[in-house]
Symmetry: C2
Subunit: 237 residues, 2 copies
DNA sequence: AAGTGGTCTAGACCACAAA
DNA sequence: TTGTGGTCTAGACCACTTA
């Protein structure tokens, strides 16, 4: 049994997506919902705040909470998502090729990115992702050996996140992300089908655990025509 | 006098940025803070949740709330920011050139983006942004005439957001944003110093008011070497 | 066992919108 | 005036960490 407010949130997401609650209509008031769910108003408010944060509703003081149209984007991904989760949402079946999955002494650049002492050991995992025969994305992962003592090529082939969370019991909590555009490296040209494109989109991802330790640095290098980033943002007051 | 929890949040942000609370150290417990601020624990928790959402702290059950290092990015902008606010943060002084600021009948494409009936009137504002003599960004704004009856070239030259919020009293609430990479158009080549770059980064922005009405569509077209997007994201449960 | 953060409650008062 | 969402309180119980 999960938290009440999360359950209410999930149920309301369902209702919005199935259009039991339609776009531009008002939800029942907080007091009504509190009655319907046999709970207190503050608990309802926690659920509604989750809906607002994730772009499902807009709360309007004195009036009520109105449902925001979802159609503008078919692909409402913002935040921290593994490649596999993301591909699932897009309904595409990518093929992963593992080019490297070995322990190395971290280069100066990687030490810097992962806040490590010089020459500490890390896992280096390099994988290409293909969609309909085209190699579109190059993922380069670096994970501290202290936190993850072992990774196999098989794991790299399926889902590292699944292994870390379900097998090792690590809890991934937040990430800092940077998106820039770069010239392709030799490695990009070799491992991707760049088809004459002169740039790659690079997503640098710094991933942190539950206890706020930085444990993974990832570069996801995309062919520019296949890159898309979608975000929902509330204005800071 | 603002809300108590916002005041507490702001005060704690100050303390984190001035390193009264240092990275990797724990904050006082929620009960202690409630005592210090002469308030209830739930109010302290609202302030701490704001800090967590914005990447200042990580809460760890059973232990406490630890301060997250800020240094990883000098430019922690995520979300909805006008060009001018953004340039201010970067400490650069851009020059704005207004190429167009006129009423037009919206094209099919613009009607589609703004959810308008055919041929409704909108403001079209096209502006180039120069940094140290280089024209780097092309901003194309479309605003429904129904909501904003008048915009002058002078306003376009300074800050439209300032005009909308402070003069017209509109309250901008949230935005949906999409980032993609495109080939430059003729217009891009004409109005930007592309310096041989073969791509532009396009940020499509759908801006909504307080009452959840869509009122503005903006395309911000960047030279790829000058584009950078930074995000902080918590993993969805 | 003691201290921490996470959830939930029942009630109060406020600011705002609409009739 | 009524109903809405926004804030705040004081207290309860729980799950987890550490000693």
């Amino acid at each position: 049994m999960r938290n009440k407010y999360v359950l209410i949130y999930q149920e309301m997401v369902q209702k919005i997506e199935k259009e039991t609650f339609k776009a531009d209509e008002f939800l029942p008031s907080e007091n009504e919902l509190a009655g319907q769910y046999h709970t207190s108003r503050e608990t309802i408010r926690k659920a509604l705040n989750l809906l607002a944060q994730n772009g499902y509703i807009q709360k309007i003081r004195g009036k009520g909470s109105t449902v925001i149209a979802q159609n503008k984007f078919d692909f409402p991904v913002s935040g921290l998502v593994s490649f596999k989760e993301l591909a699932d949402k897009m309904g595409e079946k990518p093929i992963t090729t593992v080019h490297r999955c070995t322990k190395i002494n971290a280069s100066d650049y990687i030490c810097d990115q992962l806040d490590l002492e010089n020459n500490q050991e890390v896992w280096e995992i390099i994988r290409a992702r293909s969609f309909s025969g085209q190699r579109i994305i190059l993922d380069k992962d670096y994970v501290s050996l202290k936190i993850v003592p072992y990774i196999s090529e098989d794991i790299a082939k399926t889902s590292i996140y699944n292994y870390l969370e379900n097998e090792l019991g690590l809890i991934i909590s937040f990430a800092k992300k940077e998106i820039i555009v770069e010239e392709p490296t030799e490695e990009d040209r070799e491992l991707l089908d760049l088809e004459g494109f002169y740039n790659v989109v690079v997503i640098k991802n710094y991933v942190y655990l539950d206890d706020a330790t930085l444990f993974q640095y990832t570069e996801s290098r995309h062919r520019p025509d296949k890159f898309r980033f979608v975000d929902f943002a509330r204005r800071e007051r």
